[in-house]
């Protein structure tokens, strides 16, 4: 598998000979790698649940033995990566050609090389069996995705986004590194098995400190509020199929890290996890979900809107993870709630990968045909790009958590887990859990509103500019890439029971209790069910997505017959009525106008700013020209980052005021600092 990625990376060298050839071979090699990853992960997930694949790596470093270990959790995330990678590599060549045909061999080579390195690093990261490989791949993933973010730079905007991305993720990586080094130092070795052993001897405080350090590191990468500010800038800047990978997969790698640390490496042997862990994750998840979707609503840049939705969906996944952490080993024997919550989180992981990948690819098709990302300049694309529009609509329904598609299934499971959790915990904690359910419902509704806006303004109505007017349908290979993900969305929505067996290995591996399919598909693969232990005995809920889909499919022809009418009557096409004026594109509702009521209702969070400049002719009643500007602020950005920024600026200003420019004073400072640190920290070594 890694051979394929290596070949793909090599093929970037071909770019100096033929750009096109390098593009195609590079992506083909990555596709082959993804296929290999898919087969490996399916082999492990469908096999015996205790199945593990371990593979020692040749040692590059004298101090550490490196290895790859693929257990259930690794294989599951490998599967998620492979699924999106297949779509992205099928989609990629045609997209890059269509989007930037003028790119020279150097840029193409960088893109192909970075894509292959990026995929290889993500795959190896999930399979890493030791801390060193994990950290190396983590860093490789960051660097290669940075290269991809800045590869498409025209106006310096992307370079700035890339810089912010680098700074934020490296700050996170530093936290992660501290956590890892503390563990490896205790274990005396790098492999996870020794770390696990060493973690057994930790006391509660150290354990929690290490977990929270790692959590900050992973949360930065996952784009959890308030560490998300890099995400909506960096993701849209990359080429669209890379955006799909970054949003659909790279964030999931951080989720993998949280699960690996929380349930595996740092988990106490037979006790529940410290309550602070789960509650922190739950609160972070809830706030990410709500704030992510609220900010997404006010975006007019299609790809940026999607990036904010990634923040939201990571939040939904973290709600499931947090619930699982809270409930794990806290229920009575035979309890199934932790498994249910973890199943919901893992299922939402693959679901989000599928529909977010699909939506980013759809946005990419729009971008490469119109070269416009601002929705206000699009419109009417559904008539020129019907297939792209249809696939985008499918993705929009899926991400809004509407039945019968996959987003609904995982949110349903999350709701059921929340309901179970609330009946398990009485008192304020139960109420907090239910409150997160209400927030989740709010998130779903707002996501639907946001995607009505995104789809309606981009694809429907009249074209607002000539870019949108002259768009043509995307080439077949791009549609194929989207079609694969759309098929997955439908499959995971209509027959989710069949996917539950894939979740067995990770849930059993992490929680050491019942597997997902034993709980959720206890009544056969066509039925999803939950069993809750309540004071009045065991009860539960069962639904069948398959039956519902059949019902809707059966109702469609009946409704179509009604739609045809009782008798054949004339059908006319006429212009839309616009109060007697000639209809133009300016009558169409804009994205800003669409989101305006919600902007007013949630003004406390948005802090909207608007500025209207009127140019009047003599009297205030005759307006010649009017200019409106308005925007909303990101609360995290203004309240946290700008303050930090001002603080740092103020301190550096103060230092500058007192700096004399004499070199021996500086040397004195350095020596003093060295002396002080030796005095403070050197004591332990004696």
């Amino acid at each position: 598998m890694s051979v394929c990625f290596f070949l793909g990376a090599l093929s970037s060298l071909l770019a100096w000979w033929s750009v096109r050839l390098s593009l195609i071979t590079g992506h083909l090699a990555a596709l082959a790698g993804a296929m290999a990853g898919l087969s490996v992960s399916l082999g492990i997930l469908l096999g015996n649940s205790a199945n593990k694949l371990s593979l020692p790596l040749p040692s590059f470093f004298p101090f550490a033995r490196q290895s790859l270990v693929v257990d259930g959790l690794s294989a599951y995330f490998l599967l998620v990566i492979s699924i999106v990678a297949i779509a992205a590599t099928v989609y990629g060549p045609a997209y890059l050609q269509a989007h930037s045909p003028e790119a020279g061999p150097a840029r193409r080579a960088t893109q192909v090389l970075a894509l292959n390195v990026f995929l290889a690093c993500m795959v190896l990261l999930c399979c890493a069996g030791d801390a060193l490989t994990f950290i190396l791949c983590w860093e490789g993933m960051t660097l290669s995705s940075y290269a991809l973010v800045v590869s498409d730079d025209q106006d310096g905007e992307n370079a700035r986004a890339g810089l912010l991305y680098m700074i934020m993720t490296h700050a996170g990586t530093a936290m992660l590194l501290v956590s890892f080094l503390a563990l490896t130092e205790r274990a005396g070795a790098f492999d996870f098995a020794s770390i696990r052993m060493a973690a057994n001897g930790l006391d509660g405080t150290t354990r929690s400190v290490l977990f929270f350090l790692a959590l900050v590191g992973f949360a930065t990468k996952a784009g959890v509020v308030p560490l998300h500010v890099w995400l909506p800038r960096a993701h849209p800047a990359a080429p669209s199929h890379v955006s799909a990978l970054m949003s659909g997969v790279m964030l999931k790698v951080a989720i993998y890290g949280i699960l690996r640390f929380g349930f595996d490496l740092l988990a106490p042997v037979a006790e529940p996890l410290p309550p602070a862990w789960g509650w922190t994750v739950l609160i972070l998840g809830t706030s990410s979900a709500v704030l992510g979707v609220l900010y997404a609503l006010q975006q007019h840049d299609l790809k940026r809107l999607l990036a904010f939705h990634s923040v939201e969906n990571i939040g939904i996944i973290l709600i499931g993870v947090g619930l699982a952490m809270i409930l794990w080993r806290r229920e009575d024997a035979g309890g199934s709630l932790a498994t249910l919550a973890l199943t919901a989180a893992l299922l939402h992981t693959v679901n989000h990968a599928a529909f977010k990948g699909l939506l980013f690819l759809g946005a990419g098709s729009v971008l490469c045909r119109t070269h416009v990302r601002n929705m206000e300049e699009l419109g009417g694309l559904a008539r020129h790009m019907p297939w792209t529009a249809g696939l985008f609509l499918l993705g929009a329904v899926a991400i809004s958590a509407l039945p019968p598609l996959n987003g609904f299934v995982s949110e349903w499971l999350t709701f059921q887990a929340i309901l179970g959790g609330a009946s398990r915990f009485h008192g304020p904690s139960g109420l907090a859990i239910v409150f997160s359910a209400a927030m989740l419902a709010l998130t779903g509704g707002l996501a639907a509103a946001c995607f009505v806006k995104a789809f309606g303004v981009t694809f429907l109505g009249r074209p607002r500019t000539s870019h949108a007017e002259h768009a043509i349908e995307a080439p077949l290979s791009m549609l194929l890439g989207m079609g694969w993900l759309a098929a997955l969305c439908v499959f995971l929505g209509v027959a989710p029971g069949f996917a539950m067996t894939l979740l067995d290995a990770p849930t059993i591996g992490l929680l050491h209790s019942l597997g997902a399919s034993a709980i959720v598909t206890a009544h056969g693969p066509l039925v999803l069910s939950t069993a809750l232990a309540t004071p009045g005995g065991i009860s539960g809920t069962t639904i069948s997505m398959t039956m519902l889909a059949i019902l809707i499919a059966a109702l469609l022809p009946l409704a179509w017959m009604l739609r045809r009418g009782l008798r054949t009557a004339p059908q006319r096409v006429a212009p839309t009525w616009t109060c007697g004026m000639v209809p133009t594109a300016r009558f169409d509702y804009t994205a800003t106008a669409f989101a305006k009521p919600l902007r007013r209702i949630f003004a406390a969070i948005y802090r909207p700013r608007r500025e209207v400049i009127r140019e009047t002719a003599g009297t205030p009643y005759v307006i010649r020209r009017m200019q409106y500007t308005g925007d909303v602020v990101d609360l995290a950005e203004t309240q946290i980052y700008h303050r930090i920024h001002y603080g740092i600026t103020a301190i550096s200003q103060a230092i500058r005021d007192h700096s004399t420019g004499r070199i021996h004073v500086y040397i004195g400072f350095v020596l003093g600092a060295l002396f002080l640190s030796l005095l403070l920290f050197g004591g332990g070594q004696r």
Binding site: G379, G380, A382, V397, S400, P403, F408, W412, F415, L419, A422, S423, L431, V434, A437, A438, L442, G445, L446, A448, A449, V452, G456, F459, L460, H523, V527, S529, L532, T534, G540, T541, T542, I543, S544, L548, L551, L555, L556, A559, L562, R563, G565, L566, R567, A569, P570, Q571, R572, V573, A574, P575, T576, F587, D588, Y589, F594, A595, P597, L598
Partner: protein, 313 residues
Amino acid sequence: MTGDKPLGIVLIEMCILVILGPLVTGIIQKIKARLQNRQGAGILQPYFDLIKLLGKGTVQADTASGFFRSIPVLVLATTVAAGALVPVVQSGPPAFPLGDALMLLGLLALARFLTAVGALDAGGAFGGMGASREMTIAPLVEPVLMMVVFSTALAVGSTELGILAEQRGTSWILAWRAADFLGLAAMLVLLPAETGRIPVDNPDTHLELTMLHEGMLLEHSGPGLGCMLLASHTRQIVTLGLAAALFFPIGPVGAGVTGLLLGLCTFALKILVLAVYLALIESSYAKLRLFQVPQYLGIGFVLALMSLALRIL
């Protein structure tokens, strides 16, 4: 939890809902007319309207894309499918599981999503305005409705409407606790919002200042409009059915045809009570300004939250 309600009865219940849907609208209109000292149209008028529309030709906006024609079909099918999830004549879960209260809310949300998408298709400002407002109110209603469902579901441990209705059938108002009353109050606050009636929306007008849902239907015509209207009627009765299943007992559950008929009568009675409630509210209040609706829904939110808190604490 699989029960013993055969699939046939589920389908019959679905048909009953679709058939009775326009009647509920007709009754509400009649009561409103009487309260306004008017004679009013007959209660069967919505049926005549539907038949008239289904026989008419269509005028389609020239800017509308291919999606536009299929929107009424999709909306009607999803709304009717939601009707299959409401227990009507017999409580208890169906023999083959179909969906629960969350699924019902999801299907109604899907219908709303598609309607709003269709409204943006024609490219007129009215459609966009309607869609924008509807999608503003809906995300605020949904969480509260979800909390009301949860408040009832927590006592039973299931979100399946059949089980919830069955549970309610065995414990009528004497056995109610404070949480149930608060939940019912929240539901009554939400009902006008979810069925698109005053004080949240005004179903009788196409005036741009007041409309939400109607604005989205402006560009539909002929059979397409008929489908959309039928979907609205069905949506209304489904929402009332949800409230009935959550808070009213299903009545005597007898075997055989008489039992089913009795069930049907009690269902009709419950829906009638709720319909009268809607008509009274609509006749005695003015429509709220759009930006006051969140405060109004806030009442529902607080009630639902208190209901949940009492249930959990």
